[in-house]
Assembly symmetry: C2
Homo-oligomer: 332 residues x 2
């Protein structure tokens, strides 16, 4: 059975049946627009991302469940990076007519599983045919008090630079998948966990000066903080947290410089943020309560970006992360 | 100059420069999410639409200015159909790397021209490469008091069925464009005017029982009202408003049944709504104050959908409008 036989409106009704009714969403799927009740005293935080077949994912090694999960995860991660609580989301799909209903069901299963974890209902969207591959656009709306929202701008000279979890696992996992290999890192690429609780707690602490999620790569995303804050940074490669079994798995794919994975790999969806050194211990304590590892990887400086190799020498910065339109995309 | 040379972040900065700062948007383009201040006492109305090259538009006859204009117009129309006031929007683009900067500038010019008309700022979005043609996703957020919002559900037996403006012009314009012809109707297809003021005034009147915008075609969109309201309708073909010079232009393209254009053509973005007969004159008066034509085209009945031909005989309903995944799409 394909969408061609099921039809567009039946497919939308099929999705609508999966969504539970709630008071904060007086009008959900099935009208011209969704109506939602904003929380008094909060701002709305809205983020949208588009995932395009052949650019963001390759159906030959991404299973539909993971694809659905990840399409929502990347947007929840943006809300987390502002310190917000995600409230609801919209989904637009351009679907090749031959795509099977079991594929779409598994896709929706993965997406709704993550939506359930954070109690974020699907309230609307758009469905159309595609002659050119699957395209997924998700919009997530979250909330937070404006004074609590953490921006990219705000890093201060002397701040410590911290990151949750580990970096490089997603890029490593992708490289393994592309070679038909399995490993601990493949799940990091396929089903990245958005740091929703961590982002919210960090914002509530009032101690974080600037924050972003690592989607384009550590150097590129830190670059956004530095540019918007008008500061520089110095990082220590030896302190960058790597996923377990990183070196063993890296050896399978034979990279000339494995550090490119954490520095420029992207899609780790960890939180990268800066705090005054005197607040560092408090931050570590807060994140420990929810079992989120955190590492101090460097300091904010007046200008420039310097990375020290483990032996103390300057590490040459030849990669800056992912630019979709780069003339010479880095291959790693 | 192409995006390949300009780069993704330069392109986003180029867009950001076009957007003015305002109090209701404390955080706009350039962070992980946009922050907007909702109006106290209103619900948020959120609508999203995706436009895919080769499905929704063909770059061989749609100019980039019109494409930008229309991509926003179709979403503003959804907010209008709920009776809301549009407040801000997000734009996601998947762009073939070879697409020219002048094309993208003209696209943004068209979009921002319409955004300026309704004072709706662009607050965020996503930009990525596409290997498979241009894909545009727009999300618009509007506001209205919940009690004023007009849903698809709510049509009552005995209601009059009304529609603003004229129907069939967009489909006629598309047919002319596909044949390389010009006509009054081509602009209706390329630059449909969303009925934002009309939708808002109709909602404020408190007199409208159900409303939708005509995007998939009169019969399909009326079908949504009927199904959700649990009622039927009877329409008079002779009362359906047609654009000026409809019959002259139709003669150029040689259709076996020109009524398919207003009934199933879609993309007219007029407002279709039902009111109690005793409120009909008040509605006409309200819309006259803003120079929006309105026609009574039928009545709500208990069940079924009947269309009368101009000679009074039943018109056979063989078309129901646009389903993106229909096994046998209608060709007209």
């Amino acid at each position: 059975v394909s969408l061609r036989h099921l039809g567009e409106f039946s497919f939308i009704e099929r999705i609508a049946k999966r969504v539970s009714v709630r008071d904060s969403v007086p009008i959900g799927i099935g009208d011209d627009a969704a109506a939602t009740i904003p929380q008094v005293g909060s701002v709305s935080l809205t983020s949208t991302d588009m995932l395009v077949e052949g650019v963001h994912f390759d159906l030959s090694y991404v299973d539909p469940w993971s694809l659905g999960y990840k399409s929502l995860a990347v947007n929840l991660s943006d809300i987390a990076a502002m310190g917000g609580t995600p409230r609801y989301f919209l989904l637009s799909l351009a679907i090749p007519p031959a795509l099977s209903i079991p594929f779409l069901d598994a896709f929706m299963d993965g997406m709704m599983a993550l939506a359930g974890t954070y109690d974020v209902p699907l309230v609307g969207g758009d469905t159309c045919a595609s002659k050119v591959g699957l395209v997924i656009a998700v919009t997530v709306v979250g909330e937070q008090q404006l004074a609590r929202v953490v921006k990219r701008k705000g890093a201060l000279v002397g701040d410590s630079v911290l990151v949750t979890g580990a970096l490089g696992g997603s890029a490593l996992g992708l490289a393994l998948l592309q070679r038909g290999e399995e490993g601990d890192s493949t799940k990091r690429h396929l089903q990245p966990a958005p740091r929703v609780e961590a982002g919210h707690l960090l914002a509530e602490s009032g101690l974080v000066n600037a924050m972003i999620d690592v989607s384009d790569g550590l150097l590129a995303d830190l670059g956004h903080i530095l540019r918007q804050s008008g500061v520089g940074a110095s990082l220590r490669l030896a302190d960058i947290p790597l996923p377990s079994q990183f070196w063993q798995q890296v050896s399978k794919i034979g990279l000339s410089d494995p550090y490119r994975l954490p520095l420029a790999g992207g899609e780790d969806y960890e939180l990268l943020f800066t705090v005054s050194p005197q607040n560092r211990d408090a931050i570590v304590e807060i994140l420990t309560t929810i079992d989120v590892p955190v590492s101090v990887i460097g300091e904010i400086t007046e200008t420039g970006l310097v990375v020290s190799a483990p032996d103390g020498t300057p590490y040459p910065i030849t990669v800056t992360g992912f630019d979709h339109f780069a003339a010479d995309p880095e291959d790693y």
